[in-house]
Symmetry: C3
Subunit: 309 residues, 3 copies
């Protein structure tokens, strides 16, 4: 029975280890096939709707490209100001509307829990493309796809997650998936932006080894991989707090020379200044390859949701 | 000879009774076919352009989905601020431009009469998707499609139209179409937002029975169907007038219990608070089914405009 | 060997006379074919990404229509405010991102030189759709296509370029292409908005005869064709300077009567008031035909970039 058929994609903790392995396998198959041709028309006639209540480049465009490479089409709500949201429509009413026109909905919304609320309001599958500081499960899947591609395995890795661990939905989703693979995790953040206690204790409960620190060098020395994140200005109610912590953790040539060992670097992007452009040519800098993998993972998820793999 | 081939869709009064019946028949056929498959590729290679100078979710997305389900594609001007409108281009020049690239134009614009002006500026068909407080004929057609679906007939019905009858383009278009079917109409609105005298007297001239009232309960008791509309904040120059009348007419559980008889409820959506969400589960609440019908009607209109039905 | 295969389209000076002739030939072939059918599916499965950091109607929509008429699809970044640009992402990072999802990028950006910068950041072809006051080469090609169509030849023509020659990227690109065809050029502008000295002397070096004047009538009398441009408010840092020069040069019925000879009029559009609408019916008013040619030229360029012509 196809594992994701008709399902929502809402949270990093919804997948079993077997699910993740199957998704990565399908993505990997699609990556190979796309080297030979431009499209894999498994979803001809299917319409994907994008509802982005927050800015996006990567996630929205990669979903739109993914559905097109699968032979389907996309429709998009566009900017919130140009939609009926501007007339006061609730999320639930908008979701019910779009459900009448599309076969799957991709939602980004500033409120944690909004994707679940949306999924409950409709019978068509909803994919959470970021709900506030909550989750971003398709990013987590492309992240582990990249980790396996770069390091050859997902098992027994030591990984540093750096930056805004409090508000960062990508790391919130990623640690759920990593918890399936016996990882040791370093949580590197300013005190103000620590991983929420609830997540940390839940992970520990699942047997994940966690070290919390403000020392990025110490963490990097112990790690196979550093997952950098942006300090997200838009999540701060008080901008003076943002000013205090922005630029806390930066990877540049100086840092890499001091580290003096090979490390793999990921970042969900966009970056502001937490990874200096002079790092881009470093062999371990995998964040542009990571980005490309978004297409394969999202194609895999869409194909599986429609029971085509 | 195909009745809409090459024609503009501008005004609710442009259709004969026979036209309406043919359009509903085609829409009904498409509804049946879409239960069996995702697309009906009658319009392969056709390009629909959306020009929305005012916010929209339903109308734009349902047109984009409709052309895709017919095998064609869509291009969109996007937000006014991102287009040459921002450089001072007139509507007529923009229409002439888009006419060079697309096969049909769907226009929403804040000025009454703008759709007609657009149609005169180009030789390709223009579909009026709302011109200020003027008309919204494709909405009227999906409304009568829904009425017939819910009530089994369009003839000899008593219908209450409630809310902003002065500025509401959906009701202005709907009454034109209903006037073809021996309806009795209750116009329920605050005094400030009454149906324009010109429309009312024109309808009476066609033999439509009209009762104007501010008593929604009285109207509802006499009616087979209540057509609610939003008090549209964006049409008020003076916001204090908006404050006076918003929330004048609300359907909720209490109202329905007091009414104590089955009634069908439509709404063009979005709603703000004129229909309480606790009404959504009421069997007569047909506004989400109504919305879905937008796809079938718009597919029917597009297919007919290109002579494919 | 296909002349544009895999190439960027960045600058009017990148084309040889032979290149231009080949592009016009392909465009002309496509124009003929599109009279017979809606699409020429040479680019099935190809995805074009539009990144417009400045407003556009014509250029973006004609590229989107062009790729669709060739059987491919489009994805778009949409408004800058709704993209990761709003989170502080650099142009280079955005380009690298979009390169992972699309097969060709069409970029409009307010900074001169940005298209070249973008092309250097990616291995997929970049098409410059306007870089600040720099270049707009696809416009130049559709302009010469129109000139040849209207006048039967490109050789030995006298052409007046009128308006904002300092900031006008369309004229900066056009003069590069015209310089291949023994043109005599009148540069008609207010003193403040003269063609940059660098461009003028470079053209003279190539043997182009140039007359600089503020007298539009004198220039028009000597010319086969007048190329009008808009005084672009958005290029003025000091709005009082804009007020001084706007409306300097206007073509209307009075001007044409005084001129008293047939002349062909082009304009890249949008216009504000530099060509009065009463000129639109004048047989030499070719600016709407010019606009239509954008489709054929852009289809030709896309097909050639992918080696399909």
């Amino acid at each position: 029975m196809p594992i994701l058929k008709g399902k929502d994609i809402l949270h990093g903790n919804q997948f079993t280890k077997k699910d993740v392995e199957t998704i990565l396998k399908v993505a990997s198959e699609f990556e190979r096939e796309l080297k030979k041709k431009d499209t894999l028309p498994l979803l001809k006639g299917k319409i994907l709707a994008t509802l982005f209540y927050e800015p996006s480049t990567r996630t929205r465009l990669s979903f739109e490209a993914a559905i097109q490479r699968l032979g389907g089409g996309a429709i998009g709500m566009g900017a919130v100001e140009s939609s009926s949201v501007a007339k006061g429509e609730t999320l639930v009413d908008t979701i019910r509307t779009v459900s009448q026109y599309a076969d799957v909905i991709v939602l980004r919304h500033p409120r944690t829990g909004s994707a679940k609320e949306a999924a409950e309001a409709t019978s068509i599958p909803v994919i959470n493309a970021g709900d506030g500081a909550g989750q971003h499960p398709t990013q987590a899947l492309l992240d582990v796809y990249t980790i396996r591609q770069e390091l050859g395995t997902l098992k027994n890795l030591t990984i540093s997650l750096v930056g805004d661990l409090k508000n960062g939905r990508t790391v919130h989703a990623l640690v759920e998936v990593l918890s399936l693979f016996q990882s040791k995790l370093y949580f590197v953040s300013p005190d103000l932006l620590r991983m929420p206690e609830e997540i940390t204790s839940n992970l520990r409960g699942k047997g994940v080894k966690i070290v919390e620190t403000e020392d990025m060098m110490e963490a990097a020395r112990a790690s196979h991989l550093i997952y950098m994140t942006r300090i997200q200005k838009e999540r701060f109610a008080d901008l003076s707090e943002y000013e205090k912590v922005k630029g806390s953790f930066i990877i540049d040539q100086t840092f890499l020379e001091k580290l003096n060992k090979k490390v793999t670097i990921l970042h969900p992007l966009p970056r502001v200044d937490e990874i200096h452009p002079d790092v881009d040519a470093y062999p371990g800098a995998a964040y542009f390859r990571q980005m490309r993998n978004g297409i394969f993972i999202r194609m895999a998820l869409l194909a599986m949701i429609f029971g085509k793999r």
